[in-house]
């Protein structure tokens, strides 16, 4: 327990205040969407901030619920947007962590039925986790008559633009077996796109399958602790010397609180200062974990602090 409950207060900071906080931290965990980039547009100063943090001996990690691309594609995106020194090992996506969970924690023996886009399937394949092949059903397959694979020991649901009723029906059948695991990459109900638009997220597909199966999914992504445990299993992280920076109170900030990290909200993404203050002023004790320790307008503000 970090003992920070009394000081959780949405403190807006800049300049020297940022420098003091960064000086006390060895590990900086960044969410991606809304923090270092928005779609294909980099947040001004983000690449330089990452470089400077590393030059000052900090370790930098990227922790994203976005499971639409495999890690190697993320590396390409980082490069495309001007980040010069980000490597695959620093990137933790919910797809990568779901594969790691299935292989190393659940140690699943058998196949995984995946409701997920290419990004999800590739991470499972790269981790050596056998998956049920995603092939189109033949013309005689319908909701009255569909084939099931034997030996399915887990169902994983993530963002899937090819989601269909048939996939839902099949997954529901596999989940009738209580030995079959039920995992979800992340709980996000919607994802923001450019121009203030949104698109349905993994959370909405997971909700459909939970309703169908009357079972609750084990959620890998933020705010669940697992992604932090995944990073910690590969790198030695002291939560007291780690800072989580995100734009979504219900995922990033709650994640930080759940893992005993200090948290910083940046205002270049989803959540607003007003929303953070509402959580702070709420009477409900469970809302306290949604309140960030610190708030910055943009991580670009770190430049001034780091360059001094």
């Amino acid at each position: 327990m970090a003992g920070k409950v009394g000081t959780r207060g949405c403190k807006k900071i800049r300049g020297a205040q940022i420098r003091d906080i960064l000086d006390s931290k060895h590990n900086v965990l960044f969410d991606c969407d809304g923090v270092i980039w928005n779609g294909e547009t980099v947040v001004a100063g983000a690449p330089e901030v990452v470089t400077l943090l590393k030059q000052q001996g900090k370790r930098v990690f990227f922790v994203t619920n976005n499971c639409t691309r495999p890690r190697e594609n993320y590396v390409q995106k980082f490069s495309r947007l001007g980040f010069t020194d980000v490597v695959e090992e620093e990137i933790f996506s919910s797809a990568y962590c779901s594969a790691a969970y299935l292989r190393d924690v659940a140690k699943v023996q058998g196949k995984v039925f995946v409701i997920g886009c290419h990004g999800v399937q590739k991470e499972l394949q790269d981790a050596g986790v056998p998956i049920v092949e995603d092939v189109s059903d033949g013309p005689d397959v319908s909701i009255y008559n569909f084939p099931l694979e034997p030996d399915v020991k887990a169902v994983l649901v993530g963002y899937d633009e090819r989601f269909t009723f048939m996939k839902l029906a099949k997954a529901c059948c596999y989940l009738k077996n209580s030995d079959c695991l039920f995992l979800a990459t992340d709980p996000d109900p919607w994802h923001p796109l450019r121009g203030g638009r949104i698109t349905p997220g993994s959370g909405s597909l997971t909700a459909a399958l939970e309703t169908a199966s009357s079972r609750k999914a084990t959620v890998i992504g933020k705010p669940s602790r697992f992604m932090f445990e995944c990073i910690a299993s590969q790198f030695d992280l002291d939560p007291a010397r780690s800072l989580m920076i995100g734009d979504r109170l219900e995922t990033d900030i709650l994640f930080g609180a759940n893992c005993g990290l200090d948290t910083m909200l940046t205002l270049t993404g989803v959540s607003t200062m007003e929303e953070a203050q509402q959580y702070r002023d709420s009477d409900a004790s469970e809302k306290k974990d949604f309140v960030p320790d610190y708030v910055v307008e943009t991580i670009g503000d770190f430049l001034q602090a780091l360059e001094d």
Binding site: G39, T68, S142, I143, Y144, D160, E161, R162, F163, T164, F165, L168, A169, C172, P189, W190, L193, R194, G195, R197, I198, T199, P200, G201, G203, S204, L205, A207, A208, L209, E210, T211, A212, S214
Partner: protein, 308 residues
Amino acid sequence: MAASNAKCTRLTGSLVKQLLDSIDSVLFDCDGVIWRGDQAIPGAPDVINLLKKNGKRVFFVTNNSTKTRKMYADKLATLGFNASEEEVFGTAYCSAMYLKSVAKIQGKVYLVGSNAMKQEIENVGIQTTGVGPDPISGVQIDWANVSLDPEVKAVVVGFDQHFSYMKLNRALQYLCNPSCLFVGTNTDTRLPLEGGKAVPGTGCLVKAVETAAQRPAQVVGKPSNFMFDCVAKQFGLDPARALMVGDRLDTDIMLGTNCGLKTLLTLTGVSTVADAEDHLKSGCPNRAGMVPDYYIDTIAELLPALQG
């Protein structure tokens, strides 16, 4: 509203005639009560036909949105039930009634649902768009920018075997407008098919859309009072002299209790006596409505009293 002191009593012996003499109308759920898939529950047609001979009015109230009233009437006739279209209240018809007379929609409906729903809604003069397969194409930013029909004033979700990510996405885009209505036919988690199998129900699809849009649907089907109101308005029913017969405590019996009807649980479907007794013993006011007045193994047990 005084409930009978004795609850969850087996309906047997002289109680049967006593109950039948105290009511003028009987409302039957369909799946698990009068038929299973495409097979009538043995004795069920005789029960309905004898009730009518004895001067009782009979209605059929079902959450299943995949058939029009006409299609239900045809199925009833095929299975030997003496029934007419006007006596059937399925959620396809009741959703249309809701949109017309309660929501008073001026404009179109984006419909995630069956052809039956399309027919019933268009029968009341409201145009629909969206029925049928809708596969994904293009890339993520295209989906947020799908062309929206400006005349759409409501999103309606019923059972749809063509449910897909693209439909979920379109529904979300329409619902981003806070003045767009959101209606769901029912929240049942399973749908029984002809032939006896069950697949994920409409409740899963409604949940997916509710999660993405972060707002609740207005649900037309049981246990919402609206289904009973629909019948009562057209036929002038006295709830105190009406009986609801169903197989599900959370929909049929709950509706009956909420509307002041007598309630009879039949055990040829989903719920058990143990379920009912659990609700009774819980002492929880929210669960009291799910305790039936009476229960019976099958509605065929009403025959001796009807034939006598």
